[in-house]
Amino acid sequence: MVDFGFGLVPSSRINLDLFDKDKYEELAAVEPDVRICMACGSCTAVCTAGKFSTTSLREAIEDIKNAQPAKAVEMLQACQLCGKCSMVCPRGINTRHLILSITKTYSTK
């Protein structure tokens, strides 16, 4: 069948087959805190940059687990590293280092 470039399924479809376990372990090695996030969204609620753009650490972590790292990296580019998220995180996640580590690990540039 000829592919006309149209599809019924949006590109945001979650495909866990694409999940890169090695890359995730690489990230968890530099910042193990990524494993303990419980996706409460406190970070997103206080985010300085989130007020002006659609950025969310909670979502970025979910995106990585859902095999969409490019989306996560894109989203975290708005971050100003102000550290409010680290202050409110109930799990005590070192959010600033996690954000830097996600960008370092998954950035294609």
Binding site: V46, T48, K51, V88
Partner: protein, 627 residues
Amino acid sequence: MTPLFHLLAVQAADPEVIDRIPSGYSHFVIPFTIGITFMLCWIGVGCIRLLAAIPQSDRLKFWKSLFLPKTIIKNLKDLFGDCLLHVKIWQRKPLLGYMHSAIAFGWFMLIVLGHIEVALFVPARLNVTRGGLFYPIFYRYFVWMNPGHTTLRGSFFFFLMDFFLLYVLSGIALAMFKRFRSIVLGMRHTTKPSLADRVALYSLWMIFPLRLLAESFTADLSGGSFLTVGVNHFWHLLFGDKLWFTPCWWAYSICLGLFFAAMPFSRYMHILTEVLWILLRNAGIQPHHPRKGVAEAEIYACSSCGLCLDACPMNVQKKNLKYSSVYFIRFLRRHNEKKINAIADKCLMCDKCHALCPVGVDAPALRRAQRATVNNSLPYDYSYLPSACAGQLSEQKVLYFAGCMTHLTPRIIKAVDRVFKAAGVEYAFADRDGGICCGRPLMLAGKTEAASKVIEANKKLIVESGCDTLVLSCPICYKIFKDEYHLEGIKVVHYTQFINDLIASGKLKVEKIDEKIVYHDPCELGRGCGVYYEPRAALGQAGTLVKASKEYDESVCCGGSLGSLTLDTRDRARISESSLEILLAEDPETIVTACPLCLKTFSEAVSNSRLPRKNVAVKDFAEVFCR
């Protein structure tokens, strides 16, 4: 000794000092000459390479600074104070200061006086082609004192030389003692020496006892004073009339040679390199790279003394000792990339190591530069900034900028508002509905370029508001607004300064109540911006100010600092606890701080603490003035 009598006969004028060895050379000087030549070549090449590596404009600035009267005076003051007398160590730990200055200043005086003696008595020998490199060092070996013609001048120098030798020896004795029980000299932790350090250290220990041995063996020929002549009599008692002194001079020369040969690879290079660093520092040149140019001078100026070990807040736990500035600089020197990055990321950037460093090595700045090599190139997208920072013209002359962290602790905003209302200050609130970050956290993380974008956006917002005074309640913001924003015509003040002015001018009435208050110096405000006096002056009006066991530039980070990238919550909690203990030294009822981060950290630490005092209140500075 026949040549001696022969010489005496020839020199009818009977000078005070006679060349005992007419050639002015003996084989024993070889080890010393090799060592010192190697070291001098090494440092000469190093200096040229270093100066070549700094940008042209900085180099010009450096040369110019050497001729400006103001910097000349400062240079002289710092070279004497920091390199020779070690004033900064004296002030903190007198015994340690004595030890360092005894070795540095004592040795310096021995070298200078030795050269003056040669210049006075056998001036021809100062010429390099006639042994000028080694002759003044081994002067006592080469000369014979004419006993019939001792003068006051000669005896004066004998006394000085012996005095300074004794002075150095007392320093060396303390240094040896320090190896075994450093706490007596005021150091809990000391640096672990590397191999080259050990070689240089043990030869340094040996140099001066051997010098005493050598000079005392020859004292009956070449003269001496209370020390060398006294010891000389003792040798005569022990060994009889004939003293065989050449081996002593050989040993002395070998130790000197060994020391100078090991020097470039050891901590002792700081003896010479700190001179260069002080000159560069006073010229106001900043490092652009963590390893090249000025940074290299800084790295080699580190004496590895380890004063930063006890200063570092992370070192409440022994496992964190390896992240101290002294090891950071050691690994930078060795180009150990992996370790450098791990250490650079761990630091809380409280700046205490920099404030207390005897030679002012700015390790936090080097850590920031190191972080930038990794993080500055990470992608960022701040296209939303223009919409976030649409400037609004305001009629008020006072603009208050709360900052991200203050928005997390709105009690500060409320307190500031009440204080301003009570004092009748009309103000505009720059980020009432939330603004953007000041850029300091990005800067601390090494994302310098991203930080400059944020700074630009905020600057526009502030300039367009038309204010003439900008008040900040967060020291992190204050630091970067003061250092990087360059807001011409706008007075940037921290709210502690602003409120203190309000009290001083009588606009804000303060009622003094019977409350014991301790003030915690936030790192960015105290060491970062030098604001120590204003908060204390204001608090003194509101209650009884008691002391913490460590204050001013000795104060310890609360543990909540944004500076660290990798320090985890448990380690931070340990720091908070020890910092709390320091504040509670005199049993205060209230802890007052002037930073939203410290406020939150201490509030949590008090409730979690295992300390018996749980009823101590933690307040923000502004809250004290709106009771």
